[in-house]
């Protein structure tokens, strides 16, 4: 070991506290950078994995590639893997049962052919899952979607060219298909991507035809699970069923290709390459996957992430550099005399610089590997702790219970390089300074004191003016005596030590405020989560039933709901809160039911009392009668029973006798009804060439339909016209109001019953029984609300149980699992909080290390000065006062700088998040700034106490022996 290495080693050992703090700084900053990048790579990789698992790994998809494209793709170096599937034709089919098939055509496609890449190319799209039998091996074999299993085919009477099969469709049976090419009205070729075009069938006003139809027989080898068109699963199609035959079957009409590329780093490069191969605008890009793969950077989210990650990394680098720079600057300053002595003994500048770099090397060798490991371990622990949130975000169960940590070698190299760079840059200036130390200056400590121009001028002026003793020179000296004088002199005349302290304080402040800015920039996400899935919903899980357009005689929706609710009673984990369906109707009220006193508060409903023709309008009339548009809620018997003792039967109604109205910002609760009575509900008026404005009452109390005529552009603006009910096809039905209800059943809070006037509650059977709702029935959904029996239950499991029950019963029902979504959003919010907290916590540790290191060391550097002061009779009080004054001065300057500087990252983060969440005003994290101020003050206090203790332990006699180098 050379003398200089040994010199460095001793210096590191002797200043153990500073060495440890420096190593901690290197470890923390490396760990933080590693953590930021590893989190990004892990999440990206998880997102890519998730998208690939759900949607396949294709980057480019062309449903109808041009001829010859297959060959080009197979030999192109940019193709990592590619598969192709040909469409052979489509056949009409009909069902023996007296219902129309879900889709009107069966399209035959080939199983995938691998054009490039190995077997894994089949992961480009989601391959069909075979539920029964096997995949087709020859061109005469076929596999059908499971929805066709056991189905008996039959052509409509007299129709030709329909698929047929002897008996029900089963493995081993033969199906005959009349395959033709789908041609649109303008002669264009239609693929499985196009919806079925038939004016009678779907939303299209055009009709497609099958051309060149030929009969083809296939032996059925198996059935597969129907695939999703929306996710571009392999056999998903817009509006046809897809049957699959062998990969090599001839007779292709169109060929679809799925491609994964390599060596194309950007979306532009990708498009430039693929355009000539597939034709511009003929293909689809897998935007989501390309975004997560970092190829498509155009999305706002991606841009936001980039800006945020960049800002985070920059702040960490600045913090790390400032900490390490401080450490070296102090180390060099402390040894100026040593360097001078070495220089006087013949050490060259290069050798002196090298001692500093050796020190950096030692810190790096110890700190960087530890930091890399700590960063990876930290990310693994954090991802594990926040697994719930990611499961929710990704919507799948994560293998191993959490997002796997992905460590990419280039990232490790980048971090190690970055840390080394930070070390070298941080050590550079102190090393240069060490190299420039002049032997004489160092030994005489000539450079310890450096005067700025103002101070020098002032001293020269005093000298010329012959002022021997200057009076108290400033407020500090007047207030604090000699401590104040010494502080003033130290601050104005000492070398760069003060600036280092101020700089590190400013950086610490900046870091703490920065973590607050992260919180603010993420607030829109967490706030949205809170608003959408807050605790307001009375139920945890809703089962939602969609009415059929024409329920016919036996009203199957209500039957389904009742069957489901009966069966669900056996599930102990879920408690039924009731059910409701809601719609609007027109209603008239005779006078006497609505309390005239409440007329004023029901402002929107009342026409101007002075209006001469008030009966042209809906509202509460002066005689107390009313024509209104109530919210009508249909409830099950149990829910009805929660509100009223009256029996629920068709023809009975409840009125919600509570109305909350906002009056210039104040909320007033009114009880709008005076009495029960008989009300009438009406269906919507309809008349050719007119737009309905509902039902009104004339002066005699006769209900009339209020209509406005239409011209080509919509309402003509000629005013309201009144027609009799008969002229407008209106059906009316009377309901007996059996009760006025002040408090609704909890489940009805969903429909905001108190904010709507009037709200009418009817028994569920009325929805099916009343002719008033005949036309509306198809639009009304019924929701059955369930609460979890205990908050400890897993909402997803309970939701699955309910869903399983519905599937067992064969009932079509959708579920809205509010509790699961709320739990998921809570998990996401807590994940974000965890990340922000961890970042803030580590940056705070760096900041503390920074301030503590700088301050305590710069104080310790002055031991000799303190010893002299003590030997001259300075007491402990003066000494502490002097240190405190100096620190307070540094704190103030550091905080001012920190305040100014911290606006920049806050603003950058705001720009970053503002891109994705528009319309958010910039806000500065004042609470964090206050916290940072208090934190900085606390660290300062601790550093002063530490320095005082060190200086008390100081041996004055030793310190005065100035020759100790």
């Amino acid at each position: 070991m050379g003398i200089l290495s040994s010199f460095t080693q001793r210096s590191l050992t002797r200043n153990r506290a500073r060495t440890i703090v420096s190593v901690i700084g290197v470890v923390l900053s490396t760990a933080l950078m590693m953590a930021v990048f590893t989190t990004v790579t892990s999440l990206e990789s998880a997102l890519v994995g998730c998208v690939e698992a759900i949607e396949g790994s294709w980057q480019i998809f062309d449903p109808a590639a041009e001829e010859g494209a297959e060959g080009l793709l197979a030999s192109d170096a940019h193709v990592r893997s590619a598969i192709a599937s040909s469409e052979l034709g489509s056949s009409r089919y009909g069902l023996a049962e007296d219902t129309d098939p879900t889709y009107p055509l069966i399209t035959v496609r080939t199983m995938p052919r691998v054009l490039a890449g190995e077997e894994e190319a089949l992961g480009l799209a989601i391959m069909p899952e075979i539920l029964e039998g096997s995949a087709p091996a020859t061109e005469d074999e076929i596999m059908l979607p499971i929805s066709l299993e056991g189905v008996v085919l039959a052509a409509p009477e007299g129709a030709e060219g329909y698929a047929s099969c002897d008996g029900a469709l089963a493995v081993g049976s033969t199906i005959e298909l009349f395959l033709g090419a789908r041609i649109g009205e303008d002669g264009e070729h239609l693929t499985f991507m196009h919806g079925y075009q038939d004016a009678d069938w779907g939303p299209y006003d055009r009709t497609e035809t099958l051309q060149d139809v030929r009969m083809r027989s296939y032996r059925i080898t198996g059935f597969y699970r129907d695939q999703s068109f929306a996710q571009n699963d392999y056999s998903g199609a817009e509006s046809t069923l897809v049957a699959l035959t062998s990969a090599d079957a001839p007779g292709a009409l169109h060929t679809a290709v799925w491609i994964d590329t390599q060596g194309l780093p950007s979306k532009d490069a990708l498009e430039e390459w693929i355009d000539p191969l597939l034709g511009e605008e003929d293909y689809y890009l897998h935007t989501e996957l390309l975004t997560y793969q970092g190829i498509d950077t155009s999305s706002a989210i991606s841009e936001s992430l980039m800006i945020m990650a960049g800002t985070l990394a920059a702040v960490v680098v600045v913090a790390a550099a400032s900490l390490i720079y401080n450490s070296f600057a102090i180390s060099v300053a402390e040894r100026t005399r040593q360097f001078g002595l070495l220089s006087s003994l013949g050490a060259s500048r290069r050798q002196l610089r090298r001692t500093v770099f050796i020190e950096a090397l030692v810190l790096g060798i110890v700190g960087i590997p530890l930091g890399v490991l700590l960063g990876i371990a930290g990310v693994a622990a954090t991802l594990h702790a926040t697994a719930d949130a990611f499961e929710y975000i990704f919507g799948i169960s994560l293998t191993g219970g959490s997002v796997p940590v992905v460590v990419r070698p280039p990232v490790v190299i980048l971090i190690v390089g970055l840390s080394c760079l930070v070390l070298v840059v941080s050590a550079w200036i102190p090393a240069l300074r060490a190299g420039r130390v002049s032997a004489i200056d160092a030994l005489r400590q000539a450079k310890d004191v450096k005067l700025d121009r103002r101070t020098r001028k002032r001293l020269e002026h005093r000298q010329r003016a012959g002022i021997a003793v200057a009076g108290p020179s400033g407020i500090r000296e007047r207030l604090f005596g000699i401590a104040g004088l010494l502080t003033t002199r130290n601050l104005s005349r000492a070398n760069s030590k003060g600036r280092i302290v101020v700089a590190s304080l400013a950086v610490s402040f900046l870091l703490l405020v920065f973590s607050g800015s992260i919180g603010i920039s993420l607030a829109p996400v967490t706030d949205t989560a809170g608003m959408t899935y807050g605790p307001d919903s009375p139920a945890d899980i809703y089962a939602i039933f969609f009415a059929e357009e024409d329920p016919g005689e036996n009203s199957s929706m209500r039957t389904s709901i009742d069957r489901f609710m009966d069966a669900a009673r056996s599930i102990e984990e879920a408690v039924c809160l009731g059910s409701y369906g809601r719609g609007y109707a027109y209603a008239t009220f005779p006078s006497g039911i609505i309390d005239p006193a409440s007329r004023a508060s029901i402002d929107y409903a009342a026409p101007d009392p002075d209006e001469t023709d008030e009966h042209l309008w809906r509202g509460v009339y002066r005689d107390g009668s009313a024509a209104l548009t109530p919210l009508v809620v249909f409830v099950d018997d149990a829910t009805w029973a929660q509100m009223s003792d009256a029996a629920p039967r068709h023809g009975s109604a409840l009125l919600i006798d509570r109305y909350v109205v906002s009056d210039e910002g104040r909320y007033i609760t009114a009880a709008p009804y005076a009495d029960t009575g008989t009300i009438t509900l009406y269906s919507t008026p309809a008349r050719e060439g007119y737009l309905s404005d509902g039902i009104v009452l004339d002066e005699g109390g006769t209900p009339l339909a209020s209509m406005e005529s239409l011209d080509e552009d919509g309402p003509s603006g000629t005013g309201k016209e009144l027609f009799s009910l008969a002229e407008t096809g209106v059906v009316a039905e009377e309901y007996q109001v059996v009760d006025l209800v002040g408090e609704t059943a909890p489940i009805l809070l969903d429909v905001s019953p108190y904010l709507t006037f009037p709200t009418i509650v009817l028994p569920a059977e009325s929805l099916d029984a009343s002719p008033v709702f005949a036309k509306m029935r198809g639009e009304i959904q019924t929701a059955v609300g369930y609460a979890l029996a205990s908050p400890d239950l897993d909402p997803r499991a309970v939701g699955d149980t309910l869903q399983g029950l519905a599937e067992d019963l064969g009932i079509s029902v959708a579920f809205n699992n509010i509790a699961y979504r709320a739990a998921g959003m809570r998990a996401v919010v807590s994940m974000i909080d965890t990340f922000v907290f961890l970042f803030a916590f580590i940056t705070m540790l760096i900041a503390i290390a920074n301030v503590f290191n700088t301050l305590s060391n710069s104080i310790i550097l002055r031991t000799r000065e303190f010893a002299v002061l003590q030997s001259c009779g300075m007491d402990a009080g003066d000494f502490a006062r002097m240190l405190l004054l100096e620190c307070a001065h540094y704190a103030l300057r550091g905080l001012v700088w920190g305040l100014v500087l911290s606006f920049f990252p806050a603003w950058l983060l705001y720009l970053g998040s503002g891109v994705a969440f528009g319309g958010i005003a910039f806000s500065y994290p004042w609470a964090h700034a206050l916290g940072a101020t208090l934190g900085v003050a606390a660290v300062l206090g601790i550093s002063v106490i530490y320095a005082l203790r060190r200086s008390r332990a100081l041996n004055v006699v030793e310190a005065l022996r100035a020759d100790a180098i």
């Binding site: 400590q445 003793v469 004088l485 003590q870 030997s871 001259c872």
Partner: protein, 226 residues
Amino acid sequence: MDILSIEHLTKIYGAGEAATHALDDVSFTVQAGDFIAIVGASGSGKSTLMHLIGGVDRPTSGTVRMNGEDIFKRTDEQLAIFRRREVGLVYQFYNLIPVLDVVENMTLPVRLDGRTVGEERLGSLLHALDLEGREHHLPNQLSGGQQQRVAIGRALMNAPSIVLADEPTGNLDSKNSAEIMGLLCASNRDLRQTLIVITHDEDIALMAHRVIALEDGRIVADERRG
């Protein structure tokens, strides 16, 4: 009259086998206005003795009585007051505060005491120390001899009853040495200040009224000269 009485003064650094007896049962008295030179080889305990007399360090055992009062019975606070009012210390390496100018360094003990600086006293000291025209120079703008004169000024500023000087000329050339010693002798002679000088220099020892020789922490000779 004895201004200073040192009785059985012992100072041990370290403990056990590593224990070093820097001073070993040293006793002597000093009369007011005396000029004593303490001589001895390196490590004989000279500087330790001076730091103990100056109240900068505390002994392992024994007493230092100033005007009959044991200074080590004082609290740290009282000892600090003792240092600033009753003794003046001069070191070989000057030990000036680098950020304070000449006047500020010199007046430090007065200001530490919270008193105002007597312009007249300061003026005469600056004159005597030949520091006129240098009042507002910082230590690094001064030569070694000038820095030592500032240190002497600081020691004399409060007119202490005892001035303690540890090798005050050890770092200076012969011309500067003669000047510094001249200043110290003058203060002893004219102001009747007791002066204790630690030195290697025989010429300086010859100027003293009394020479105490130390060896391994013990007094081996104590001679009063004509």
